[in-house]
């Protein structure tokens, strides 16, 4: 079977390329990865008028064939037919922003020189008109020597004409691609400016919307205040809106587990299905509400053009930690959960900055740490004020958050000077025009994020949950013996116990550490299981657990346990998503290593300091 003709959609960033791609292919898109790099491959099918299907591939936005980022390198390699895992394109659609021809024509000129059958989509002509710009597409066509079609992708204008032009182009005989010699950008840019000038019929100066909005949104005082308000709403929503769907998912999973438990005979199979598989699926799906809500906001911020402004406002502060302004939102998101936070690092185009951000994201205190913190604080920190109405318990909680953030900043600084050194780390970004986000593009984006999470991270999470189940279930306990003590997990815990004894951890904690890998909050129930507490509801279980803890742990041990949880990468999902986002096991392995090392040192230091102080 001969592969379908491949049409590459290329253009500079902010040309409206993805909107045009969505308008051409609809929701029937496939998202994959180019082999060996963390660059997404978006492709879709288009049926021409005569019924012939073609494959469309949406190339990463690029300013020229001379790459300044890994994304741009992929774009160049695909266009030159040199990208591994991709066939050479048969035709090109070049998307240019009608109101930014001076700049976008440079890349278009480079692409036309390649000699492939080419169409130029003169996109966002409506916005150009709004800006008082009157263009002559015929003149542009004559200057460029290829068909030029006016489009407004978000309103589906010009899409049919574009399809018809594609039809003609695919049918026409074609010749091979010319070799691309690294061209000098400056003369090319000058030619682009001349052509743009020629294509402009008239220009009436109007004060642009974007400029007015920026006057407020980038204002030195109003700007940060508005950003804070936007983020406040966003995080309120992530917590408040996700609560109900999460509880639905949890009760749904519980219902299914109950149903399965009723049907299946008592024994290993039932345990595998109920605790392993259903529990594992539940562990994956329960992340979805937060991921979807967070990405809903991130996609809105991206599509409207505000995301870049937020990065602009925060760049100086993030630069102090060796990161760029782009890292701000992903890191903030990690306070809810590191999984969507790490997925959000895709907006950072500098690979070293992105990697550093991924590596420190787990240090942001995610919501799963809260149950652990709450339990230990309630059990060991006296409920009294330290003056001015400040409670000691709240203060300790705050201290744990601050330690996490401080640790992240120090880790970022250290990493940026060592393992993730170099790579410019520059902050150079276009501030695009503000635009109304299109519902369709947001929905497609959300759908793709959900699918990526479920397919790539979900499989690893499910697999490890089943593995943890197996470790905790074999060999089976004899009557009167505790299952967790008898299992392989119990044996491993004995090994762990030797390792963690020097930092003040006891047998209970070492038994809880392994199951807590599934999710941090599992540590609470795991400790509960160790004490074989069976209480009617969670509340009394917690109270009982607190009392038991007080009896069996010293304060020094409790504090060490808290310090451990600030740093320890106790979360399979985070490790899985890091593997997915860095395309290999090298960086998740490094992350797990340095975080466990930090956790060990922090817990040890806390324990021995506390012991020395006689706590």
């Amino acid at each position: 079977m001969t592969p379908l003709p491949l049409v590459a959609v290329a253009g500079s960033p902010n040309a409206g390329k993805s909107a045009l791609f969505n308008a051409l292919t609809g929701a029937r898109q496939k998202v994959g990865n180019y082999p060996g790099v963390t660059v997404e491959r978006h492709s879709g099918r288009l049926t021409l008028a005569d019924g012939r299907p073609v494959e469309l591939v949406d190339l990463p936005g690029a300013y020229s064939l001379d790459p300044a980022s890994p994304d741009e390198a992929v774009t160049r390699d695909v266009l030159l037919g040199k990208q591994k895992g991709e066939r050479a394109p048969d035709a090109l659609v070049i998307v240019v922003d009608a109101s930014n021809l001076d700049n976008h024509l440079r890349f278009a000129l480079q692409l036309i020189e390649l000699g492939l059958p080419t169409i130029v989509a003169l996109n966002m002509v409506d916005l150009a008109k709004r800006d008082g710009l009157q263009l002559d597409p015929k003149r542009l066509e004559a200057e460029l020597g290829v068909p030029v079609i006016e489009t407004v992708a978000v309103r589906k204008r010009g899409i049919q004409e574009l399809q018809a032009a594609l039809d003609d182009m695919i049918s026409a005989p074609r010749c091979g691609v010319h070799e691309h010699a690294p061209s000098d950008l400056i003369p090319l840019q000058r030619r682009a400016r001349d052509i743009a000038k020629a294509a402009v019929v008239s220009e009436s100066p109007v004060r642009r919307w974007t400029h007015r909005l920026d006057g407020v949104l980038l204002h030195p005082i109003a700007g940060p205040a508005i950003l804070a308000a936007v983020l406040f709403v966003m995080f309120q929503a992530v917590f408040a809106w996700s609560e109900v769907p999460v509880s639905w998912i949890e009760s749904g999973i519980a219902l299914i587990a109950q149903g399965a438990a009723d049907v299946l005979p008592h024994g290993l199979l039932r345990s595998l299905i109920v605790d392993g598989v259903i529990g594992g699926v539940g562990a994956v799906v329960v992340f979805l509400p937060q991921i979807l809500i967070l990405f809903f906001f991130i996609l809105l911020l991206e599509a409207s053009g505000y995301m870049v402004r937020a990065a602009f406002l925060m760049d100086k502060l993030m630069h102090g930690a060796g990161l760029s302004g782009r890292a701000f939102i992903p890191l903030l998101s990690s306070f809810a959960c590191a999984v969507p936070g790490i997925m959000a690092t895709r907006t950072i185009d500098n690979p070293k900055d992105r990697l550093t951000t991924i590596l420190v994201a787990p240090l942001m205190t995610c919501s799963a740490r809260l149950p652990v913190y709450t339990l230990i604080i309630a059990a060991f920190i006296p409920d009294r004020t330290v003056g001015l109405g400040v409670g000691l318990q709240g203060l300790v909680m705050f201290g744990l958050y601050v330690t996490g953030v401080g640790g992240a900043l120090l880790a970022a600084l250290t990493l940026r000077r060592t393992v993730t050194k170099g790579g410019g780390g520059a902050f150079m970004m276009e501030l695009p025009k503000y635009q109304m986000p299109q519902l369709k593009d947001v929905v497609i984006g959300l759908y793709q994020r959900a699918l990526i999470f479920l397919k790539r991270a979900g499989t690893i999470i499910l697999g490890t949950t089943v593995l943890l189940w197996a470790l905790a279930s074999f060999p089976q306990a004899k009557p009167g013996e505790s299952q967790i003590e008898a299992s392989i997990a119990g044996k491993i815990s004995s090994g762990i116990e030797v390792l963690v004894k020097p930092i003040g951890f006891n047998r209970d904690i070492s038994l809880a550490l392994l199951p807590a890998m599934a999710a941090r909050e599992v540590a609470v129930s795991a400790i509960g299981t160790v004490y074989s507490i069976d209480a009617g509801d969670d509340q009394s279980a917690n109270v009982a657990l607190e009392d038991r803890l007080r009896g069996r742990w010293s304060l020094a041990t409790a504090l060490a346990f808290l310090a451990w949880f600030v740093f320890a990468p106790q979360c399979i999902s985070t490790i899985a998503v890091t593997r997915r986002e860095t395309n290999g096991w090298k960086w998740p392995a490094f992350m797990v290593g340095y975080l466990f090392a930090l956790a060990y040192i922090a817990a040890g230091a806390t324990y021995w300091t506390a012991v020395a102080l006689g706590l």
Binding site: Y63, S64, D66, P67, A68, S69, S99, N100, L101, D102, N103, R106, L185, I186, Q189, R190, R193, T210, H211, D214, L218, P220, I221, G223, P224, V308, A311, F312, L313, D315, K316, L317, H319, G325, G423, G424, A426, F427, M428, M429, E430, L431
Partner: protein, 88 residues
């Protein structure tokens, strides 16, 4: 009295907000390769008119600069590599 020596150009980061000036020269060697490449992508070139529009709220960094029909954000340290003719 000798005529005061007037420098013909200042660096872009010293240009006032809202002042337009044409680029006199760019010290490409002061930039890393990918940074220089990106500036060229943004259309930075001798003779092109630039205008600082906004400053970052912390430490007046980064800078939002209009270049051609685009607005771009660059850090002050990179803006120093660009010299502009003093506006009349």
């Amino acid at each position: 009295m000798t005529a005061h020596f007037k420098p013909e150009s200042i660096s872009l980061d010293q240009l006032k907000i809202g002042a337009r000036a044409s680029i006199a020269s760019i010290d490409w060697d002061a930039l890393e390769e990918s940074e220089a490449c990106r500036l060229k992508h943004f259309g930075f070139d001798e003779g092109v008119v630039v205008e600082p529009l906004h400053l970052g709220p912390f430490g007046r960094d980064p800078l939002a600069i209009r270049v051609g029909r685009m607005t771009v954000a660059i850090r002050r340290s990179h803006a120093r590599a660009v010299r502009v003719n003093i506006p009349a």
